[in-house]
């Protein structure tokens, strides 16, 4: 889970736990890249607007690493303008969840990736 806002991070972690995942967190893109080098994750939730390197660039780097090519990445963003979803799905993201998060719908999305 990559998110720079602590309250929103807490919210997402609560939801993820409710669905049955365990969560690790990173607050910057650089932090996230480091974490993926040390640990293998089954699902990545990526905020787009981050301090420093943004979510799009971070995802590109992570996806280029061995073992992460097929790891699903879900974009989580407050950029809920028309066209944002399409723009992000064209890149390395498998799913898109606009903020503010609709909790029941978000849960459904995550459920898809629970094996």
């Amino acid at each position: 889970m990559v998110e720079d806002d602590p309250i929103n991070m807490e919210l997402v972690i609560e939801i993820i736990k409710a669905v049955g995942f365990t969560a690790d967190v990173a607050v910057t893109g650089e932090d996230a890249v480091k974490k993926t080098e040390n640990e293998a994750y089954d699902l990545i939730l990526m905020d787009i607007m981050l301090p420093g390197m943004d979510g799009i660039e971070t995802t590109r780097i992570i996806k280029s690493k061995p073992g992460y090519k097929n790891t699903p990445v879900i974009a989580l963003t407050a950029y809920a303008m028309k066209g944002d979803k399409e723009r992000l799905l064209e890149k390395d993201f498998q799913d898109y969840v606009p903020k503010p998060i609709n909790v029941p719908e978000f849960m459904k999305v995550i459920e898809k990736y629970k094996e």
Partner: protein, 562 residues
């Protein structure tokens, strides 16, 4: 001894000349202007010598000589012809036959004439030279000779006249030719002048000339100046400072400073003038100093163009650019604000939903209601944020309302639900007055509710501490539906009314702190009303309350929303 001389000549000047010359040699001079006069003079007082011209009126020299020779008393007086005419040998012959002593042709040096005269006198005195006897004695012979002579003269005269006539004719011909040439030249010049005048007058600008040292005075100005300024060509040419008088007060100083400086090579300026009808006309004025080959200034030559339209376009373009820049800043601001608002809202809505889903455990009834309130308000706030984003799209012409036939009473009630709780907290009583004739209206339900909510929200927000009343009325007026929201709140000062619908303009910044809000509410409301083809207005009394009224068409024109 004084010698008496008689000078006969019809030319006064010739006579005078001879007289003076003879007098200087101590001659006593008598004068006669023709033969008859001379004859009389001789009879009165015998001269010692006669000097005579030939051609004279009344009696010519030949006749005079003949008369003298026919008289015993005068036939021996020495007689000298001094003549410019009759220069042929025939004349000399006749003169000699008539008994003339000498025949001298003018213009001979007068001194030589005097010498001859003296010689003649000496010869005479010496007596060796007898006075010439007249050879012509008979009248007939004289007449025939005389006729011969006269005919000869006439022939000579005629040929001379002919020559003169020919000469004159040639001169006249020459004159006529040169006159024709001159006329052609003048025509060419005039045509050329007309050609250039037409060219100058055709130019969609005013062409002028001024003296090199007086820019304001005009020596020439093309007639189009009347279109430019309303003042005629004549008025410009007569009033040498008309230009200066017409200058716009704001431009006068700059312009006069430019031209008061000694006129250099060229000048180019833009300024305004006040035309005769009071219009402000923008002028581009470009002038150059024309010099002769030696570099001395001859005149100033310039062109004045009406650039009012250009200026208007320029001003409009600048204004457009400014507006577009302002619009972009606003759009960016709205996009950023929207993002920043969504982030905390995400937590509010998200955690509320988690609580509602009882993921954090069971809630009692009250907690459940509170969570629901948080959720409803949060979602409404989200809706508003979305609408603000929409508004920026409305302004960019990117949004289309979803028009449907909506029941007026239901729409108003739904709007009221959103504000009921807040009104209650402010001790405000809500009243609704509906017109039974106004059942439906064609509008975008979401936007209509938003308009109403915004006005109600403002009415509550700006109510007095002790509370008050908000009255909502709906009324059918012909093809329009008139809605109004009246409050008994703090009201708006008259001078602040115009600013109400402007974006980001709360009357003072203190309001924002005290009452909250972005300052966007009324401008969004106005935009939404206008989106429906309606209009909104406000009446207010400071300290007593305000009434916002918006009028919407009951039926929407379909094509407007295509």
């Amino acid at each position: 001894m004084i010698i008496k001389a008689l000078v006969v000549d019809d030319n006064k000047n010739d006579r005078m000349l001879l007289r003076e010359m003879l007098a200087s040699k101590n001659y006593e001079v008598t004068e006669g202007s023709d033969g008859a006069e001379a004859l009389k003079s001789v009879k009165a007082s015998r001269p010692d010598i006669i000097i005579s011209d030939i051609m004279m009126p009344v009696m010519d020299g030949f006749k005079l000589l003949r008369e003298l020779k026919n008289d015993e008393r005068t036939k021996d007086i020495p007689f000298v012809f001094y003549t410019a005419y009759y220069v042929s040998e025939k004349d000399r012959e006749l003169a000699e036959k008539l008994g003339a002593s000498r025949y001298i042709i003018k213009p001979k040096d007068v001194r030589e004439l005097l010498n001859e005269v003296e010689t003649v006198l000496k010869e005479y005195e010496a007596g060796h030279v007898k006075p010439v006897e007249p050879i012509i004695s008979t009248e007939e012979e004289y007449l025939s000779k005389y006729c011969e002579m006269v005919v000869k003269k006439l022939e000579g005269n005629i040929s001379q006249l002919e020559a003169e006539i020919t000469g004159r004719r040639q001169a006249e011909e020459k004159l006529r030719l040169s006159e024709t040439k001159m006329r052609a030249l003048v025509n060419t010049l005039r045509e050329s002048e007309n050609k250039y005048r037409r060219l100058v007058e055709q130019i969609p600008a005013v062409v002028y000339m001024s003296p090199p040292d007086a820019f304001t005075a005009r020596i020439y100005i093309s007639p189009r100046v009347e279109e430019l300024s309303g003042y005629s060509e004549e008025e410009w040419l007569t009033d040498i400072d008309l230009w200066g008088k017409l200058l716009h007060p704001d431009d006068m100083q700059d312009v006069l400073l430019k031209v008061s400086d000694r006129f250099k090579e060229k000048i180019s300026m833009e300024y305004r003038i006040i035309a005769k009808n009071g219009d402000v006309v923008w002028v581009r004025d470009e002038a150059i100093l024309v010099k002769d080959a030696a570099g001395h200034p001859l005149f100033i030559q310039g062109i004045m163009q009406d650039i009012t339209e250009n200026k208007k376009t320029e001003v409009m373009q600048l204004e457009n650019q400014r507006l577009m820049a302002a619009s972009k800043i606003k759009s960016d601001f709205l996009a950023n604000m929207s993002h920043e608002l969504r982030t905390p809202l995400n937590a509010i809505i998200g955690f509320s939903e988690l609580l509602e889903m009882k993921i954090a455990g069971e809630l009692n009834e009250k907690q459940s209601r509170f969570v629901n309130d948080i959720l409803v308000s949060g979602r409404h706030l989200l809706g508003l944020i979305n609408d603000i984003l929409d508004l920026s799209k409305v302004e960019a012409g990117k949004i289309e309302p979803v028009i449907e036939k909506i029941p007026v009473a239901d729409a108003i009630n739904e709007g009221l639900i959103l504000i009921k709780e807040k009104a209650r907290r402010h001790n405000i009583v809500l009243k609704v007055e509906l017109d039974p004739n106004l059942k439906f209206i064609e509008a975008d339900m979401q936007r209509f509710k938003q308009i109403l909510f915004n006005l109600l929200d403002n009415a509550v927000k700006f109510s007095k501490k002790e509370g008050g009343t908000i009255t909502i009325t709906a009324k059918k007026e012909d093809s329009m539906a008139k809605f109004s929201v009246s409050d008994t709140g703090i009201g708006v000062k008259e001078e602040d009314l115009v600013r109400l619908f402007r974006e980001f303009e709360q009357i003072d910044s203190g309001i924002s702190r005290k009452y909250g809000g972005t300052g966007l509410g009324l401008s969004i409301t106005k935009k939404l009303v206008e989106l429906h083809g309606g209009n909104i207005s406000v009446k207010s009394k400071f300290g007593e309350g305000s009434t916002f009224t918006f009028v919407l068409p009951i039926e929407q024109k379909k094509e407007e929303f295509k």
